[in-house]
Symmetry: C2
Subunit: 185 residues, 2 copies
């Protein structure tokens, strides 16, 4: 951030009076520009013993597999965001969704919320996907998953499936997993 | 938003190519300025049969009672945000927190996450609170609560306490509850 989005004057990074962390401040109009984490909402669509994955047609992680997910938009709920992303990326509808993983990624200012649900009917690759397909546990492309959040969600799912019990899993991923792990989404 | 925060040129509201909703676009440097919902994180601090509430010393809803909560910051997790707000507003520490209510407010682009936990030791009003106090169910100031999210969380809690079972409650509040209900936080 270089300029005030309200008045167009240059901003500077400083700790406002009464605050305890740096913000972008406009000394011309006085606006304080707060920046906050974003929610990434998506689904884990389940069909019998298989789950739906999308092969990414966009950067980052072009060609890697992911669950349908993306940034929550203004004016929608977390479930609405998850279902919209599933429609957009996988041409799929999912029923009976429940919140399944909530993963904080403080190093990239994101909170993932993945909802588990039942895949309904057909699916088809959206413009952000090269391909959409169903995978049994033994066929999951573990070495070609796009993000650590997706790997973690799938591992929880296949472990929980053994007991047919799917509690909410809240966890954190605090650092990049390596050079091959760019900011999510 | 009137100006591009990257280059300072005027922005206009238009639907970018390949997108389906209006964004603030900079035609000078090409930046698309996305705007996304914010997370409000807080706690429901419990001490025996009482819960801790804070009387607000700031607008909106000056003088009304609330649970300690506020906007999640970059570089923290949802739990860290909830505990930080509890420290700042109530001078209190809370143990053994679990996510208790997740409330979507799409009309104001917020997602509330309130964590239930055990109040530890002393508490004291922070600069954003006029007063901090413990309330039994029969003493809750229902007509002087600051936000509908807080009322809903407290109602869930006192109902669940009868069964000593506190599942996660996910719900939506879609419109303002009336003229006395300004944007939350």
């Amino acid at each position: 951030m270089n300029f005030c989005s309200h008045c167009g004057a240059p901003v500077r990074l400083a700790i406002p009076e009464g605050d305890d962390r740096p913000r972008y401040l406009c000394e011309s109009c006085g606006t304080i520009h707060y920046q906050n984490p974003k929610i990434v909402a998506g689904t884990l669509p389940v069909s019998g013993d298989r789950v739906l994955l999308c092969k990414r047609a966009i950067a980052p992680r072009y060609g890697y597999w992911t669950l349908p997910a993306g940034f929550m938009e203004n004016a929608e709920t977390t479930v609405e965001a998850a279902l919209r992303e599933t429609r957009e990326e996988a041409g799929a509808e999912v029923d009976n969704v429940t919140l399944y993983t909530l993963i904080n990624l403080p190093h990239i200012d994101q909170v993932y919320m993945i909802f588990r649900g039942e895949l309904k009917g057909e699916f088809t690759a959206g413009i952000e996907s090269l391909e959409v397909a169903l995978f049994r546990e033994e066929d999951i492309p573990w070495d070609a998953l796009a993000f650590s959040t997706i790997e973690r969600t799938l591992k929880h799912f296949f472990a929980d499936r053994k007991n047919d019990h799917f509690p909410l899993h809240i966890s954190d991923i605090r650092k990049r997993q390596g050079a091959d792990e760019p900011p999510a989404v």
